[in-house]
Amino acid sequence: MRLRIVVTIFLIVSTVLMSFLGACTPATEEPVPPVQSKLTFPVDITDQMGRVVTIEKMPETIVSLSPGHTEIVFALGLEDRLVGVTEFCDYPEAAKDKPKIGGFSTVDIERVVGIQPDLILAANIHRKEVIPELERLGLPVVCLDPTTLEEVLEAITLVGKCSGQEEKASQLATGMGDRIKAITYKTNNLTPAERPRVFYILWHDPLMTVGSDTRIHELIELAGGINIAQDLGEGYPTISLEAVIIANPQVIVAGTGHGEGAVLPYQFALTEEKLRDVDARVNGRVYKINTDLVGRPGPRIVDGLERFAEFIHPELFKGDQ
Amino acid sequence: MVKLEMQGITLAYGDKKIVEDITFQVMPGEMVGLVGPNGSGKSTIIKALSRVVTPYSGTVLINGRDISRIPRRELSLLISVIPQIPLLPSAFTAFEIVLMGRNPHLGLFQYEGPRDMDIAWQAMEQTSTQCLAERRISELSGGEIQCVVIARALTQETQAILLDEPTANLDISRQIEILDLVKGLCRKNKLAVVAALHDLNLAAHYCDRLLLINRGGIHAEGTPIEVINTQNLEQVYGHGSYVHTHPLSGLPAVLPRVDSSRNSSLNK
């Protein structure tokens, strides 16, 4: 009995001690070699989680933990340095051939550690467990967590700064900014009466839509529409069919994702009997959009915005289907 | 009026035989007692008579008909059983339990009518359980439950009644009351009654005939005077008791021995 108590106390004390030690480990202690680059490394950056990260040298190896980040890396011409992507990174095509380090929420830490990358790009969902773990192992992690379009541009700039591609990033961001302005120029001054009511279907059973703090909501607003679920709260809430009917959206956009049920929300929007009297159905304004275009915080999000603009204000934005 | 018969009955649980090749009859108006040591098979015989247990071999007949061929509902109009340890659902009232005795008389869609209620009420009066009518089973003592179950059997209005140790939990006045009642009904209505009894004195006093069951067979059969004698008791029960004659009825009365020969048999 006494032995048991002693062993238990020993285990507790050693666990507490080890966690203290772990928290105190410094990130890296290597001396800084001189690098050929326009930028001076090491560079301190503040990532979008508010963490201050020191990038010691120009990263030769980059690992991306999110499909959106992968797209940014490719857009900045850094694909040769990209040595690890998730299973879901499928754009551009070349991304599919890169070595895999796990899923989106299920990162294989061991594999990442095995690669010993110079830079890891993480996302919001990695906050709780993955990022602290990587920090503990002494790997440089930058968290990109853009919640608005502005912040997506900032994220791109950030990646450029981390990787010595500031100029390319600046060009990309400016280009995207211009395209966004081309749209908001026309939509900013619309009166509420001129903004159509838009219903975005994330999934049909249960019926799920987007709340006011999501990027998709912002896209709707920037494209000159009103999200009928804007008062609904945050995240991706369920909504009752009744509420949709009463709100009478003039435009319905269904997200098409991956896998077996990909096209079901769109089919639902087109064929559900109870929605037959809703303006969007009566006027044939039911559209689908690839969720990668609006869901991923990467360069293509402006493509998503442009599609939205075409759906919502066809009279202002003629698109080439 | 019914006549019960067992012909060549062997009863077994699995491969273990309890009684072998038993044959006897019970005539209407006759009260037959099954007596014997614990575990001799009295309860099993009662169960076989009511078709709760299937005989290993042999047949049970009621008025010449094989009871295994008779549908349950019809059988329960002919035979009612008072079980040894009745497990009753605790939330029902005594009256509701007694009223269940009317079940064989009711069709699937029928409900109990006033006549059924009256019969149940009177059965409870016969068994002095009317005061318990509104009480829940969980509140009753073992003896009270026993009387409720007897009332239920009476409510069934059958021509044959089987009793499995009906007086086990009752005090002496209740025992006499119940057996008086059953014997009276037996006579008046010409019922065929089979009672498994452990109390030899009560058996001697109330039963017309006795079957002494021992080691899987009928050790003795006949009137109480014929069956309950010291020799039979010694052979079946050992040396602990002897048979006296009841001073008023002339029937056998069983009493414990108080001499040295009993002590020596206990020390074996």
Binding site: T238 | K47, V81, Y111
Partner: protein
Amino acid sequence: MSWQQAKLSHTNQAAPAAVYPHRRGRVYAILGLLVLFGVMVALAITVGSARIPLSTTIDILLSKLPLVDITPHWTSALETIILEIRLPRIILAGLVGAALAIAGATYQGLFRNPLADPYLIGVAQGAALGAVVGFILPIDWQWLGLGTVPLFAFVGALLSVAVVYTVARVGKVMPVTTLILAGVALGALLSSIVSYLIITSEEQLHGIMFWLMGSFSLTQWSEIKFVLPYMVVGVGVLLIYARSLNVMQLGEEQAQQLGIDVEKLKLILLTAATLVTAAAVSFVGIIGFVGIIIPHAVRLIWGPDYRFLLPLSVLVGAIFLILTDIVARTVLAPSEVPIGVITAFCGAPFFLYLLRRRTKVLF
């Protein structure tokens, strides 16, 4: 010879009305609950995430009666909401609540066990497996206006109970304890298969989880048409055998001695209760609490006689689930809370209150 002629005592009293099994009180209870049911339905129709004036609602309903002629002064959207969203949903909630409550009461009587509920012998797990298979398979045909998922769930539910019954049966006899054990074992096996399929399927994950939790949204009239016959027949059969179920409470031996064909009764009750449960679960998902607690609540108030317990459970179950659905629809409107979450939340406190108050034996 008539029994009454031969009795030994000389009194000839009739049973006092007091011992008549409280029939009148319970009949009044049934009538009262019917009224309450009507009130609940009316409430459910008028309440929802969309605000519709009461007069409009009444007019919409009245206009559907034959011979009534009201010129529509409402939009078709409102009519769609009332007649195609709310009404079918309320009806299904009532049917499912009734079915689960009566099935639960029956199982408790059949197994003589207060912990029995309609899902004891594998109905829910079989339905879940069927539904998951229906989700995952790429076929998407419709039959009678019903999708693959509920049909597969229904078949799965019935098949699993059939398997359990076949395993448990020994010759002509079906021992009740064996049935329970076989049901629990098979249920566990099916559950693990369901979990495995869900984990390895990724895509349809959230759809399946929501289905499993139970939901009345997107109820169609075609679903009600499918479910109704099973409910009516099943509930009808159970009500007919209520008195026999009373006698079964004495145990199989005594019940046999009182004329009950025990094996036949077990089979009938099992089949009817399983049928209504399968119909309920297949279209709505797994809703807990109703099947086990509603019968006990009814027992606490009105006693254990199954001739009243069963119909009262039907009414209380229907009222309870309609009420719960109202809460699920309105508490976070216009979002909806899955109904399985709400049932225990609503019902448990009330049941605990009943337990505290009890003065008599429960089962």
